[in-house]
């Protein structure tokens, strides 16, 4: 774990480099005639949406690992993953809303994808809140791990029920636009690179947060130790 953390600095620089390169690319792709400049939001929106989902998968794995092996490293990583995932989900929602205003004329619509992303964010927030509601790290860790696993079972069900809910009945007022225009041609490579950059960014943030959590826990422990020897 500690070795990983030391190595993280290089990961940070790498991420920064790649991100700047991608941003340069993003501002040099030809503009979409239909969507105008707003299309550039896509390069933040889509990768962060994918990362929000991906981080939840990782969170679930860490949770299972923690329940099984009772390893504190897994617990710390799971705690960090919740924050990182929440951040990506929030970015997705905000960028989506900002995009939605010019595209659909509203900030929000009750569409399948939007709803399940919102649920994911609530779930992340719930996980963070649950952990913070305990004084005892072990109890908090165990409770959150179980909740995370339940969320993992539930997310696919939510996703599909939300899809059916909308497609079986009233079609959304904006036909299909959430799935967006298929992305082709010169728009595609920057997106792929951006996705890679976001994966790196996610890893970097995860390890950064994990280190903060680890240090905080060590500090707490030191304080306790000092207190009980006083």
């Amino acid at each position: 774990m500690n070795r990983l953390l030391a190595w993280n600095r290089w990961l940070g620089w790498g991420t920064l480099l790649l991100l700047s390169a991608c941003l340069w690319m993003v501002f040099h792709v030809p503009m979409d005639y239909q969507q105008g400049n707003a299309v550039r939001i896509l390069y933040v929106h889509v990768p962060s949406a994918k990362m929000a989902l991906f981080v939840y998968l990782i969170l679930t794995l860490f949770s299972i690992w923690y329940l099984w092996k009772k390893s504190e490293t897994a617990d710390i990583l799971a705690e960090a993953a919740a924050y990182v995932g929440a951040a990506f989900a929030l970015v997705t929602l905000v960028s989506g809303s900002l995009w939605g205003k010019p595209m659909w004329g509203t900030w929000w619509a009750w569409d399948a994808r939007l709803t399940s992303m919102l649920v994911l964010l609530i779930l992340y927030v719930g996980i963070i809140a649950l952990r913070n509601a305990f004084d005892d790290t072990v109890k908090g860790g165990r409770a959150t791990a179980i909740l995370a696993i339940f969320g993992a079972v539930d997310l696919p069900i939510i996703h599909f029920s939300v899809v059916w809910w909308r497609t079986l009945h009233q079609p959304p007022s904006f036909n299909q636009s959430a799935s967006g225009p298929t992305i082709t041609g010169p728009l595609l490579p920057p997106l792929i690179w951006m996705s890679v950059a976001f994966v790196l960014l996610g890893m970097f943030l995860l390890l950064l947060k994990a280190r903060e959590i680890q240090q905080r826990r060590t500090l707490d422990a030191m304080e306790l130790e000092r207190a009980s020897h006083a």
């Binding site: 409770a143 079972v153 539930d154 069900i157 939300v162």
Partner: protein, 221 residues
């Protein structure tokens, strides 16, 4: 072991009828919500008919959450939960006992809620009442299973009432959707079958299978 489960549920139900009054405050809340919507919407009968499933399910959801806040409260009183965990019972049995007690109370509230709603909103679909009740019962099974688990989870947490609701609401979203939609189709076509009913059943099975296991993990120190 069945006897132990029964006894555990018995204790909670008795408690309620002796004094804790979860039941009356749940019912109280349900009626108040119905009145609020009546006042807010003043729906004509047709509109009302469309609203009924939503009203029923959202009331069920919220009253259940209200009831859940108290599930483990009696156990706190004299360290009784600890006493329970000292019994030679698998944790799953304790879970089922608590679940059963809560289920009974929820079902009682529901049984009163459905006719009340129909009367208050002047919706004359009395023939569908048994099916509506059946759907609510099915939904409540999964709902309370998840709810009891989360109640156990948040028992020693800070500001646990809000937390419980925050954790439960997103997780039961599919149940709610399935419940509302299957009720819609009952009201529209009178038939109980369909994909939504299946989703409801899947949800029940998944949660009733997973929750005791989660409870066992939770109670381990």
């Amino acid at each position: 072991m069945l006897k132990a489960i029964y006894r555990l549920a018995w204790k909670d139900v008795i408690a309620d009828f002796r004094h804790r009054s979860t039941f009356s405050s749940m019912l109280f809340f349900a009626i108040a919500v119905l009145l609020v919507f009546q006042a807010a919407f003043e729906p004509d009968p047709q509109e009302a008919q469309r609203l009924v499933p939503g009203l029923l399910w959202s009331t069920v959801l919220f009253t259940t959450i209200l009831g859940l806040g108290r599930v483990f409260q009696a156990e706190e009183e004299n360290g009784a939960l600890e006493g329970l965990l000292l019994a030679p019972l698998p944790r799953g049995a304790i879970f089922f006992g608590k679940w059963l007690g809560n289920l009974v109370l929820s079902l009682l509230v529901m049984t009163m809620l459905v006719p009340l709603t129909l009367v208050l909103f002047n919706v004359t679909i009395w023939g569908h009442v048994p099916m509506l009740l059946l759907l609510l019962f099915l939904g409540t099974m999964g709902l309370t299973a998840l709810g009891v688990l989360l109640a156990a989870m948040t028992q020693t947490a800070r500001s646990r009432e809000t937390l419980l609701a925050l954790l439960l609401l997103p997780l039961v979203a599919p149940l709610l959707i399935a419940g509302v939609q299957s009720m819609n189709s009952v009201i529209a076509s009178g038939s109980l079958t369909g994909p939504w009913l299946n989703l409801l059943l899947i949800f029940d099975v998944v949660y009733l299978a997973l929750a005791p296991w989660g409870f066992g993990w939770l109670m381990e120190e």
